[in-house]
Symmetry: C2
Subunit: 210 residues, 2 copies
């Protein structure tokens, strides 16, 4: 692996584990056993590292977000989709831990983050709209838009919430709880069989967790 790529990977790990504000370029160089000068040759500080990590995150998550728009998913695949979406977010979770301070410090991120949130909302709205049209969910188009927004807030802030209230959960457990809560939000729009659906989802997520 090239030094440049190694720096990016080590930075991502450190940022996720320690929090971006607690990690310096010297810490990153230390972990890689390279000199700060060598790191500086590749990146002139933390800002370009963070910018490149965000670009990488954007590319990956956009791939995830585009799939259900290109082609509607089978109903049960939607729950897996949300799982994958959360996994992607948790891979780059340091961006989500302190969105407000990061976007203040790196204003370019604010624009990118807003765009990303719009894409999330569009994809979720498209999924819900498909479920509505096939009669799986019973709601008006207006309710569908509002539900998509609530789900977007949920996937964006769930990691911070979990870290605050249940700091000891593993990433897998936090994602599991996040998907479960998200589906719980959609369930009341089922015209019938809500309890059976919730029971199925409970079982499904207990299985995938093991």
């Amino acid at each position: 692996m090239k030094t440049r790529e190694r720096i990016l990977r080590a930075s991502l790990t450190l940022f996720n584990e320690e929090g971006e504000s607690n990690v310096s370029t010297v810490d990153i160089a230390d972990v890689l056993d390279i000199s700060p000068g060598n790191l500086y040759y590749h990146f002139k500080g933390k800002e370009p590292i963070i910018a490149e990590l965000f670009d990488q995150f954007e590319r990956e998550i956009n791939q995830v977000l585009k799939a259900p728009i290109k082609k509607a998913l089978a109903i049960e695949d939607n729950w897996v989709f949300f799982y994958i979406l959360f996994e992607e977010i948790y891979d780059f979770r340091f961006f989500y831990r302190n969105i407000t301070s990061l976007t203040e410090q790196y204003p370019k991120l604010a624009t990118q983050f807003r765009k990303l949130i719009r894409s999330k909302r569009q994809t979720i709205a498209s999924i819900l709209d498909t479920l509505r049209k096939v009669g799986f969910l019973e709601m008006t188009p207006e309710e569908c838009i509002l539900l998509a927004e609530r789900c977007t807030v949920h996937v964006t802030y769930w990691p911070s919430y979990q870290e605050l209230v249940s700091p000891k959960l593993t990433t897998g457990e936090a994602i599991h709880a996040g998907v479960h809560t998200l589906i719980g939000q959609i369930a009341p729009y089922l015209p019938e069989g809500r309890q059976e659906f919730l029971a199925l989802i409970d079982e499904f997520y207990s299985n995938t967790q093991e």
Copy 2:
């Protein structure tokens, strides 16, 4: 007003407007036209100011949170209750802008914040449970607990979300949208007349906003 109280008020205003990390004790002294030494006589830095502001916030919000537990509200008063809850949160909104970094920097806050989130969840659960028992909402006790958690996440992270996606909204508009979205989350559990209820809420919130 005593100097001590003036320092707290000016700090709260500055923290809310500029963000806590962008405000120094010198800035606070400047705004009050007192010397940094005079400020230091009252508070030995930002940490005790923040601690005292959180205690004040805790006292005020706990008053709000206890009311519906002491005595069940009339159904329509619940929506006003959420409005008051959001207003209280927005009065001390700097705590909510960067929960993760603030609680990292001031670990005592993490414990207090967790306790506060538990109180919020209890109050919201109690409100929803009352609505369930009188038949206004149709859900199982388990669904009631999950919905209370979702509403708790919503009231906690709505200010950050709004600031990110709609930075130009006034506080009044942001609160309005927050209550509206919260009620939209409860509405699907109405056994009937959901559309009429949503229309009523739309109208109600357009009125109070003016």
